[in-house]
């Protein structure tokens, strides 16, 4: 049996599945249920300043988009940080950590961008016995209007400064949670590292409007006829999050910085992909909000089955394993030639590949009067569109042309040697070809 024990920034948990700071981790009641269901750790719902807590809207705070059969694909929210008094949260955290010493308990924190505010609150929170801190520089709505959350996360200098204050104020690990609402995720990640962060976590939610109510002409979720942009999460954001995680993992400045991967993780496979791209552990919010805490059981059984099948004994063996294969476009092998292949036995003759290729790609699929669809090798650029639109899995696949064979589209023999854009003759700034 694969060992799922995880150590992230020195914080131990029995598995790499943590609940992200959000409603699932809002209070003692939820967190106890989560631990009983098997979650390895939780990042407690973001704590704010002592004093009167923030208030939330009293109408709907979520919007959503759905796939077929009303499967929830994306969720958006306009919720703020915890709306419960700090003391209540701290008492609850103390009790939970005492009763579940083997699970990770991380305190998420967001206070105004003032040194004293951060330096006062961290030691107070540390008294709960929590295992570390996560600085919430990500929340993109509401709190950002008050100069916190993503308003800090979008300014690398602020990130570095606040991180440094926090590192001065505590000996516990400090994780900086990043907002994806930036043009380049590397700047905030590098700033966190410079400030002394032990690790980063990402992504927080993405600015979004999920839909517009065409009767009331207001964005959803609608509050008394008005709406505001909310934070988007769930399966739909996974590709964005994966890329940001991979960018940080392969960037020279940030390589080796522990990353807690977040964004759309719904199954064991999603989690394995984040780990492969360099995340040391993962955090989950929407999947738990959609299916309940029990989903973690599938994540645990699936990850350990896959690790067993692959012969990976522990998480160290998979974390970052795919990172060396993430590269820039310019380094992709242009001598790697593939062609689409249609399995006529699997084909159900719907013609979607034809429509896609004929109308929007390279006119490389032929259609006979008997509705037989074939790939024209002399036109196929191997774009993969037909593969992606075909309703039958594995009906269209890509075949790699062996070196020495003829690419009928270019009329050239496929070369064995690697050749990328950097050496291509059409590249004006190509370094010596050959």
């Amino acid at each position: 049996m694969a060992d799922l024990n995880s150590t992230f920034c020195g914080i131990k948990s029995p598995n790499p599945f943590w609940l992200a700071s959000a409603p699932p981790t809002d209070k003692e009641y939820n967190v106890r249920r989560a631990f009983d269901a098997g979650w390895g750790g939780v990042v407690w719902k973001t704590l704010g300043m002592d004093g009167p807590p923030v208030v939330n809207v009293n109408g709907p705070r979520y919007g959503a988009i759905w796939g077929a059969d009303r499967r929830l694909l994306g969720l958006n929210n306009i919720e703020l940080i915890t709306d419960r008094p700090l003391d209540v949260n701290l008492q609850e955290m103390t009790r939970v950590k005492r009763d579940y010493p083997d699970r990770a308990l991380i305190a998420s924190v967001m206070v105004p961008c003032e040194e004293q505010a951060w330096k006062e609150i961290l030691p107070k929170i540390a008294d709960t016995g929590c295992d570390g801190f996560e600085l919430n520089f990500g929340c993109p709505h509401g709190m950002a209007e008050r100069g916190m959350g993503s308003a800090v996360g979008q300014v690398p200098e602020y990130i570095e400064m606040v991180t440094r204050w926090c590192k001065e104020a505590t000996d516990l690990p400090v994780i900086v949670k990043l907002t994806p609402n930036v043009t380049n995720i590397l700047y905030p990640a590098e700033a966190a590292k410079k400030g002394g962060a032990d690790g980063v976590s990402l992504i927080n939610t993405i600015n979004s409007i999920t839909s517009v109510n065409l009767d009331t002409m207001s964005p959803e979720p609608m509050i008394d006829g008005k709406g505001t942009h909310g934070g988007y999460c769930g399966p739909a954001v996974k590709p964005i999050a994966l890329n940001m995680v991979a960018e940080i993992a392969r960037n020279a400045e940030t390589r080796g910085l522990p990353i807690s991967g977040i964004g759309g993780i719904t199954t064991w496979r999603d989690a394995a992909e984040f780990l492969a791209l360099g995340a040391g552990n993962v955090q989950v919010c929407t999947a738990a909000m959609t299916y309940g805490f029990k989903v973690v059981q599938e994540m645990i059984s699936g990850l350990s089955q896959w690790m067993d099948e692959q012969g990976h004994a522990s998480l160290d063996e998979i974390v970052g394993r795919a990172v060396p294969n993430v590269t820039d476009w310019q380094y992709l092998n242009l001598n790697y030639v593939t062609k689409a292949r249609i399995d006529q036995d699997l084909c159900i003759k719907c013609g979607r590949c034809y429509a896609a290729c004929e109308d929007t790609s390279h006119q490389a699929i032929s259609m006979s009067p008997e509705r037989v669809f074939d790939v024209k090798d002399d036109e196929c650029v191997a774009c993969n569109l037909c593969v992606n639109v075909c309703p039958v899995e594995n009906c269209i696949t890509m075949e790699t042309l062996e070196p020495g064979s003829m690419d009928e589209r270019t009329g050239k023999v496929v070369e064995e040697a690697f050749a990328d854009w950097t050496t291509h003759p059409n590249n004006p700034s190509a370094t010596a070809a050959e």
Binding site: K294, E298, S301
Partner: protein, 446 residues
């Protein structure tokens, strides 16, 4: 082919081999991988799911379906087998329409349940194809348990005990294990010798020794078992059958439906199995339906099931009634047999319509006759001989919620014991639960 169908009397070879083979193929054929994913996708992963409550073995259905959906059918199988070691057979034989699938929220909302049974089959098939056994034994406890019968209740009990490290000896009267899985379940539910394969696979846990051809009451006695073993489990099912108590019951081709099905299940070539041209079955349960349908599939021209009460009171589910009718079996309600006709061999059965009188079912004067060259009795099975000193309740061995009988150190479960319906899945649940109780007793915790 038609001519041999019209051959009078009881005769073999009514259909050619190809027709018989196609007739006896899987009732619910297995999914391919894609179909399984599509079917799994329909599950809502309900909280405190009603389907789980409806499963006598409480399989975590939403979890196993999600494990299929996420590409780990092996993990799904483990989720199933943890609760129900005969999950493979149950996937094939459970009347899901009255169990999990009846309770599925999508059955209630749309009249189209998630196909839990077929998904369960998909997962267990994948795991069992792999030919490894997913469980291992705990260190030996040195405790020994004797089990009577090798049916589903006993096998589930034995497997759980073996997992806990106890050594189990099963005494089985027949030359083969599996109980009614092997001898009773309709052939189109358990194809390709699955019952035997499943028993072989189950025994791979180790620590279970089956001794065939050993009956309680003849070769072995309960006293001896109690003396030799630390605990005893009785899972001998119902080996007797009810009689019609009519004159002429001893005529040729007045047969017991369960015995007919057992012969059918053990036949190596179904075209050699004799069946009547006109077959009448008396009864209203699963056995009646299975005998009727299989008679038809063997090539009987006319098959009629006669049940003494109305359609709604019939113990066979609506799904099974529909299945019988689809296969061309006629169902006649509210009639009971009153006479068996023929010289030596059966020629017809006389029935009288029934009616309620003062809350009792009685036969009326109105009668009809069905020509028949074979009559199957399917009016229920009874407990075979049991040790005198054990307490019965009604016609079964009395047990409490833990499966304990009136005798110290003796447990019982499955069809021979009180509690639950007479179903494979119920037998598994009772065998498993008794094993849990036996284990805690044996380890001095209970």
């Amino acid at each position: 082919m038609t001519s041999s169908m019209r051959k009078s009397g009881v005769s073999s070879g009514r259909l050619d081999a190809a027709s018989v083979q196609s007739n006896f193929s899987d009732l619910h054929p297995p999914y391919d991988d894609h179909e399984a994913l599509v079917a799994a996708d329909r599950c809502y992963f309900c909280h405190d799911a009603p389907c789980v409550t409806a499963c006598p073995t409480s399989i975590d259905i939403p979890l196993f379906i999600r494990q299929i959906a996420t590409g780990t059918p092996e993990a799904a199988a483990r989720t199933i087998l943890n609760q129900n070691i005969l999950g493979g057979m149950c996937a094939r034989v459970c009347p899901t329409e009255t169990l999990c699938e009846e309770a599925c929220v999508r059955e209630i909302a749309e009249g189209k349940p998630v196909e839990i049974g077929r998904l369960q089959r998909h997962a267990t098939d994948v795991l069992m194809e792999d030919d490894t056994h997913p469980f291992t034994r705990s260190a030996s406890t040195g405790k020994t348990v004797a089990i009577v019968g090798a049916g589903p209740a006993s096998l589930a009990c034995a497997h759980r005990l073996a997992m806990y490290g106890h050594d189990v000896v099963i005494y089985e009267a027949r030359p083969k294990g599996g109980g009614l899985n092997e001898f009773g379940i309709a052939a189109y539910k358990s194809t390709n010798d699955f019952a035997k394969k499943e028993v072989d696979w189950l025994l791979k846990i180790g620590g279970i020794d089956i001794r065939y051809g050993r009956s309680l009451g003849t070769e072995i006695s309960l006293d001896n078992l109690q003396n030799e073993f630390d605990a005893v489990f009785l899972g001998m099912g119902l080996s007797g059958v009810n009689a019609l108590s009519l004159e002429g019951e001893d005529k040729n081709h007045v047969d017991d439906a369960v015995a007919f099905i057992a012969d059918l299940r053990q036949a190596t070539d179904l075209t050699t199995l004799p069946i009547g041209r006109r077959v009448v079955i008396v009864g209203g349960g699963m056995t009646a339906i299975d005998a009727g349908v299989q008679a038809k599939l063997l090539g009987a021209e006319d098959v009629t099931i006669v049940y003494r009460r109305g359609k709604d009171a019939m113990p066979a589910s609506k799904f099974e009634q529909d299945l019988a009718q689809q296969k061309g079996v006629r169902l006649v309600f509210d009639a009971a047999p009153v006479g068996i006709e023929g010289n030596g061999s059966l020629t017809a059965v006389r029935f009288a319509y029934t009616e309620q009188q003062d809350g009792k079912l009685v036969t009326s004067d109105e009668t009809f006759t069905l020509p028949a060259d074979q009559l199957f009795k399917a009016i229920g099975q009874t407990l075979g001989p049991v040790p005198d000193n054990i307490q019965l309740e009604g016609r079964k061995i009395a047990v409490d919620n833990f499966g304990r009988t009136s005798l110290d150190g003796v447990w019982a479960g499955g069809d021979c014991a009180t509690g639950g319906d007479d179903l494979t899945v119920t037998a598994v649940a009772e065998g498993r639960d008794a094993a849990e109780d036996m284990h805690s007793k044996l380890m001095g915790e209970g």
